[in-house]
């Protein structure tokens, strides 16, 4: 016989999962405070001036290590409209990459209370196309627009002042295994209409 003895399929049509669970299903939200600079942090009164400077420095370090990276400025701006996208200076050479400017940092309230040096993560700002760019770039202690962590988690603004909440995973510091960027494959399919033969 030149044909298969049996041809069975085990997965029902449409049952295959192409997408991971939504982050909300595996990630609880934790509270924090969002500042654009150490001065506004200190002025808020929750942290000392030294704590604020340490938080800003830590966040900047994390930004250097793990900001979302893009091959072109245009790609970066597509994900972070209204932001400033800058070249990343790499010590080891390699392709030149662009990262969005750090727009501020979030200090995790719960972590900070237990430690003298508060844990802080960098955040990035985007403006929707219809937003007033002036209002987006300026305004108040936290500015306008929407904020995201480097891993793409949205930073939810609290009811007042600097209060925010974000996914706990935004605070796990494992830059060596954290995904910095997605969407670096697949662009040509759009122009060619599929790549099979």
């Amino acid at each position: 016989m030149k044909r298969s003895v049996a041809v069975g399929l085990t997965i029902a049509a449409g049952a295959a999962a192409w997408y991971a669970l939504a982050p909300s299903a595996r990630d609880e939200e934790i509270a924090g405070n969002l500042y654009t600079d150490p001065q506004s942090c200190a002025a808020d009164g929750r942290y000392t001036r030294d704590q604020c400077i340490t938080a800003a420095v830590n966040a900047n370090e994390a930004h250097q290590q793990s900001a979302p990276r893009y091959a072109t400025q245009a790609d970066c701006l597509a994900d972070f409209p209204g932001s400033t996208c800058q070249p990343l200076y790499q010590t080891g050479g390699g392709p030149s990459l662009f990262v969005p400017a750090m727009a501020g940092f979030v200090v995790a309230a719960t972590v900070a209370s237990a430690m003298s040096a508060p844990s802080a993560v960098p955040v990035y700002r985007t403006c929707r196309n219809d937003a007033d760019p002036q209002a987006c770039r300026s305004g108040g202690s936290v500015g306008g627009g929407a904020y995201y962590t480097g891993s793409g988690s949205a930073v939810s603004r609290g009811s007042s002042g600097s209060s925010v909440s974000l996914a706990r995973s935004g605070f796990t510091s494992a830059p060596s295994t954290a995904t910095l960027s997605r969407g670096g494959f697949g662009a040509r399919a759009a122009a060619h209409g599929g790549g099979h033969s």
Partner: protein, 383 residues
């Protein structure tokens, strides 16, 4: 080899829908056409298609050695230089390939001729391996086909066996492609099913969802490092896109492996003709601009090195078929017109899985250049 007619199964459309074969009908027209089938003798299959396919595959493996040792050919095939070492290493390491489809001209009498080898991203796999098989089994069961009718099609069994021999151990196999294209999705999900039946742990991920870490490793949506990736996405596109520069430096095992790039290129046709001039399974072929093209008798076909689905093809002096391909260069091949079966022109897709010829799928339409709308028609072996 004969073309025959048969009544379609009344419930074939429901069956197609129930297995996720959504593109069985495209724009209101059947892509899967079971009102027609081709009948072969066992000798036509074994001597006319199976053995020649095996021979062609051996020639292709020889061509990998030949091309890798020749920087001028690597350049001529438009393979980016940053990938040359990557390709050579994957070949020396014996990275396993999974599958491919030779497109052959065959009329049941003369030896088949190679039109091209789809070595990287072949589709029309599910309909050949599964739907065609079901069609024959059910027609035999319903008494509408002879009991001793057979089919050249052990593709499904060979795929499961091949996944089992990849040597992944407990590592997870990620399978990727365009999640929003019916044909690609079906192909990837079918291969996923085969991999699972072989006992592998698998995950699906859309090609655009693949992530990258600070040290240039690739990740899935839950930030797991991807160690082994099947990708139904052209190699030349992967390398040219944003993350492509990181592929050669990464240890991720790829299926198809990087060395398949030397075969998934119409320039292979010119290389094979240079290695095996006059071989009965080959059509004369040269890279564009070669003076020997003028010596080719009769009409010629000009094909983009990296074209797909019958696009940007020029036959003789006719206008080209539409399409976006061709910037990497072309190959010119002597024309061997598809055989004519009452106005229908079938092309034989001859499948190889893990180095073994194991089945065929037939596409036919009235045109000389088979496009992505050509109907898929089943076949049987009888006599």
């Amino acid at each position: 080899m004969e073309r025959a007619r048969i009544a379609f199964r009344p419930d074939w459309q429901q069956q197609a829908a129930s297995v996720g074969f959504a593109h069985a009908i495209i724009d209101g027209k059947p892509y899967w056409d079971e009102t027609t089938y081709y009948r072969f003798t066992l000798d036509e299959i074994e001597r006319g298609l199976e053995a020649p396919t095996q021979t062609l595959l051996g020639m292709c493996y020889d061509a990998v050695n030949y091309i890798i040792a020749r920087p001028d050919l690597m350049r001529r095939l438009a393979i980016p230089e940053m990938a040359w070492d990557y390709i050579a290493k994957s070949w020396r390491r014996h990275d396993k390939d999974l599958y491919g489809r030779f497109d052959l001209r065959y009329d049941g009498t003369a030896p088949p001729k190679l039109y091209e080898f789809n070595a990287d991203t072949p589709t029309a796999l599910f309909e050949a391996a599964v739907f065609q098989w079901n069609w024959l089994e059910q027609n035999i069961e319903r008494g509408t086909m002879a009991n001793d009718a057979d089919q050249f099609n052990s593709i499904h069994e060979k795929l499961i066996a091949a996944f089992g021999k990849l040597g992944l151990g407990r590592r997870t196999l990620h399978l990727s492609g365009l999640g929003d294209d019916d044909e690609d999705r079906l192909t990837v999900e079918y291969l996923d099913d085969c991999a699972r039946q072989a006992g592998l742990a698998t995950r699906l991920i859309a090609i655009a969802d693949i992530g990258i870490t600070a040290d240039g490793r690739f990740t899935d949506l839950e930030d797991n490092i991807i160690t082994d990736l099947f990708k139904l996405y052209p190699w030349e596109w992967l390398l040219a896109e944003t993350f492509g520069a990181y592929l050669p430096g990464d240890t991720m095992r790829m299926i198809e492996p990087p060395w398949k790039m030397t075969l998934a290129n119409k320039g292979l046709l010119a290389v094979l003709w240079e290695m095996y001039p006059g071989h009965e399974l080959l059509l004369p072929a040269y890279f564009d601009g070669d003076p020997r093209i003028a010596e080719l008798r009769g009409a010629t076909v000009r094909k983009p090195l990296l074209g797909r689905e019958g696009r940007n093809i020029v036959i003789g002096n006719r206008p080209p078929t539409a399409g976006p391909y061709g910037e990497e260069g072309h190959v010119v091949q002597a024309l061997a017109e598809l055989p004519d079966f009452v106005g229908n022109r079938p092309v034989i897709g001859s499948w190889v899985v893990a180095g073994e010829a194991c089945g065929i799928g037939i596409r036919e339409e009235a045109a000389l250049v088979t496009s992505d709308t050509a109907r898929f028609v089943p076949h049987i072996i009888l006599g």
